[in-house]
C-alpha cells in the first residue's frame, strides 16, 4: 500500500490540474466571499448588491464567513470534482490503465491509494481555505475578532469545505466507469444542478450533495435546519462512492 500511496502522491503533486485547482480554491474562495460581503456592506442598489445582501446570514465576521461557506459549498465541489476526475480519468485518457495490471500491487490498492492521497489533500485544502479566509478577514478587518466568537464559524467553514470535497470523491466512480475525465466533469455539473433543484423543492436535506450548501445557509430566513441524519448521509455517500470505485478497479478489464 505504501508503494501505491507514494506513486499516487508523486503523480498528484506534479499535476498541473491539482496545483491550479488548489491555488484557485485557496485564493479565489476567500476573495469572492470578501467581494460579496463588501458589496452587501456598501448598501448599493442593483442585482449584484441585492444578491450579495441575500447571501449574508449576519453582520461582520458571521456575514463574511457565511458568504465564503456558500461559495465553498458549490465551488469546491467543482474544483475538487475536477481533481478527482483527473486522478481517476487520467489513467484512461493517458492510456496508462493497462500498465497498472500484472503488478504485485493490485488495482484495488492503487484505487485505495488514490483515495488516501485525495483525502489528505482534501483535509489540507479545507484547512488552507479556512486559514486564508480568516487571514484575509483579519487583514481587511471585517469586524472585531475573537477566537471564542469566530472560532465556531471558522470550524464550520472547514467542515463545509471538507464535506464538499469528500462528496466530490464519488466522482472517482464516474471517471472510472466512464473511463475518462469528460463523463466525470459532466457528472459534476449534473449533480450541482440536481442539488439546486432539490433545494428549490425543499427536499435538499435528503440529497447529500445539497447538504453542505444547506449547512452554509443555516440561520437564513425560510431555510429549515439540516438534521443529524441528513448530515450523516454525507460521509455515507462519500464512503459508498469510494467502495464502488475500489470494487470497479478490482474487477475492471482493459478494453
Amino acid at each position: 500500500m505504501i508503494a501505491a500511496i507514494l506513486v499516487e502522491w508523486w503523480k498528484m503533486k506534479r499535476s498541473l490540474v491539482t496545483l491550479t485547482a488548489t491555488a484557485l480554491m485557496v485564493i479565489l474562495l476567500p476573495a469572492m466571499g470578501l467581494g460579496f460581503f463588501s458589496v452587501a456592506q456598501q448598501g448599493g442598489t442593483g442585482a449584484v448588491a441585492d444578491k450579495a445582501r441575500a447571501m449574508l446570514v449576519g453582520e461582520g465576521w458571521a456575514g463574511y464567513l457565511g458568504a465564503v461557506d456558500q461559495i465553498a459549498a458549490a465551488a469546491m465541489f467543482v474544483g475538487a470534482g475536477v481533481v478527482v476526475a483527473w486522478m481517476f480519468g487520467r489513467e484512461h485518457a493517458d492510456r496508462t490503465f493497462a500498465a497498472l495490471f500484472a503488478l504485485p500491487v493490485p488495482r484495488a490498492t492503487v484505487a485505495t491509494a488514490k483515495f488516501i492521497v485525495l483525502s489528505g489533500w482534501a483535509i489540507v485544502l479545507s484547512a488552507l481555505v479556512a486559514i486564508v479566509t480568516t487571514g484575509l478577514g483579519l487583514v481587511v478587518d471585517v469586524g472585531p475578532f475573537a477566537i471564542a466568537t469566530q472560532g465556531p464559524g471558522i470550524v464550520r467553514l472547514f467542515g463545509i469545505a471538507l464535506s464538499t470535497t469528500g462528496l466530490a470523491l464519488t466522482i472517482g466512480w464516474v471517471a472510472s466507469v466512464g473511463r475518462g475525465y469528460l463523463p466525470a466533469i459532466g457528472a459534476v455539473v449534473l449533480i450541482l444542478g440536481a442539488a439546486q433543484v432539490s433545494v428549490l423543492f425543499g427536499t435538499g436535506g435528503w440529497f447529500p450533495f445539497a447538504v453542505p450548501g444547506l449547512l452554509a445557509v443555516t440561520g437564513s430566513d425560510g431555510i429549515p435546519p439540516v438534521n443529524a441524519m441528513q448530515i450523516a448521509l454525507v460521509p455515507l455517500t462519500a464512503g459508498l462512492g469510494i467502495l464502488a470505485t475500489v470494487q470497479w478497479w478490482r474487477h475492471a478489464e482493459v478494453v
Binding site: V7, T96, A98
Partner: protein
C-alpha cells in the same frame, strides 16, 4: 517461482469474445524458460488480446491463460513480481520525469525501497536514458518514451516478459538495442512472448514464430527459413480460403 507442471507462459484452448466476434479463438500456445516465442499477424488478428488475457487484463470466456503456472486472473499478487510487460502504451506518466517514472515502476513491481536507487541508476544507464533523466515524460520523443516503457517493464529483472510491438517508434539503433536486449534476457532464462509486424526482425531473435489470424493459430514460421513474408501471407490466405469453403 511459479508452479511446476506448466511452462512459464501457457494459453490452453483460450477463447475471448468481443461483441459477437471471437477475438481469440481456441488458441494453444506456450513459452518455455529461455525461449523467445513471437506472434505475428495482421491488425486485429488477436495478438494484443492474447497478451492482455495472459496478463489478467481480460478474463477468458473459455480455456486458460496461465503465467508461471497460475491462471492470470488468479495469480497471487507476489507472482507478478516476476513478470514484466509492455502492452501498447509505455508506463510513462507525462507529468513525471524519467527518473520518477522508473522509480514508480520499480515500487509498483515490488522492488524494495533500499534497492530502488541502484535499480533506477542501472535502468537509466542500460536503456540510454541518462541524458533525459530529469526530463518530464511529456517532453520525450516517442522513441524515448518507448525506451522508458521498456526500462519500466524490465528494471525488476522479470523471468517472464510479454511485449507487444516493443520496437514501436524506435529508430534503427533502438531496434538493434531491443534485439540485443531480448537475446540477453533469453540467455538469462527469461520466457519472452513478443509480437511484431517486422518479420525479418523477429526472425533474428525468435525461437518460434506463431502466425495468428482471426483469433486463432493458422501456422508456424521457421525463423531460419527464407521468404518469411511470402510464407506468412500464404498461411493467412489459406486460412481465409478454408473459412470461405467452410461457409
Amino acid at each position: 517461482m511459479g508452479r511446476p507442471g506448466l511452462p512459464p507462459v501457457a494459453a490452453q484452448e483460450l477463447v475471448r469474445w468481443f461483441d459477437g466476434d471471437r477475438a481469440v479463438d481456441g488458441l494453444d500456445l506456450d513459452v518455455q524458460a529461455g525461449e523467445i516465442h513471437a506472434v505475428v499477424g495482421l491488425n486485429g488478428a488477436g495478438k494484443t488480446t492474447l497478451m492482455r488475457l495472459l496478463l489478467g487484463m481480460l478474463r477468458p470466456d473459455a480455456g486458460r491463460a496461465c503465467v508461471l503456472g497460475y491462471d492470470a486472473t488468479d495469480m497471487p499478487p507476489e507472482g507478478w513480481t516476476h513478470v514484466g510487460h509492455l502492452i501498447e502504451t509505455p508506463f510513462a506518466y507525462p507529468e513525471l520525469t524519467v527518473h520518477e517514472n522508473i522509480a514508480a515502476a520499480g515500487l509498483l513491481h515490488g522492488l524494495d525501497r533500499s534497492r530502488l536507487s541502484d535499480a533506477i541508476d542501472d535502468a537509466v544507464d542500460r536503456f540510454g536514458l541518462e541524458r533525459w533523466r530529469h526530463r518530464r515524460a511529456r517532453h520525450l520523443s516517442l522513441g524515448n518514451r518507448q525506451r522508458l516503457g521498456l526500462a519500466s517493464a524490465l528494471m525488476h529483472e522479470p523471468s517472464v516478459l510479454i511485449l507487444d510491438e516493443p520496437a514501436n517508434a524506435l529508430d534503427p539503433a533502438g531496434v538493434v538495442f531491443i534485439r540485443d536486449l531480448l537475446l540477453a534476457r533469453k540467455e538469462q532464462g527469461t520466457a519472452i512472448l513478443v509480437s511484431s509486424h517486422h518479420l525479418d526482425e523477429l526472425a533474428r531473435v525468435a525461437d518460434r514464430i506463431t502466425v495468428m489470424h482471426r483469433g486463432g493459430r493458422v501456422g508456424m514460421l521457421d525463423p531460419s527459413g527464407s521468404e518469411l513474408e511470402k510464407r506468412f501471407f500464404a498461411l493467412v490466405f489459406e486460412a481465409d480460403l478454408a473459412q470461405e469453403q467452410a461457409r
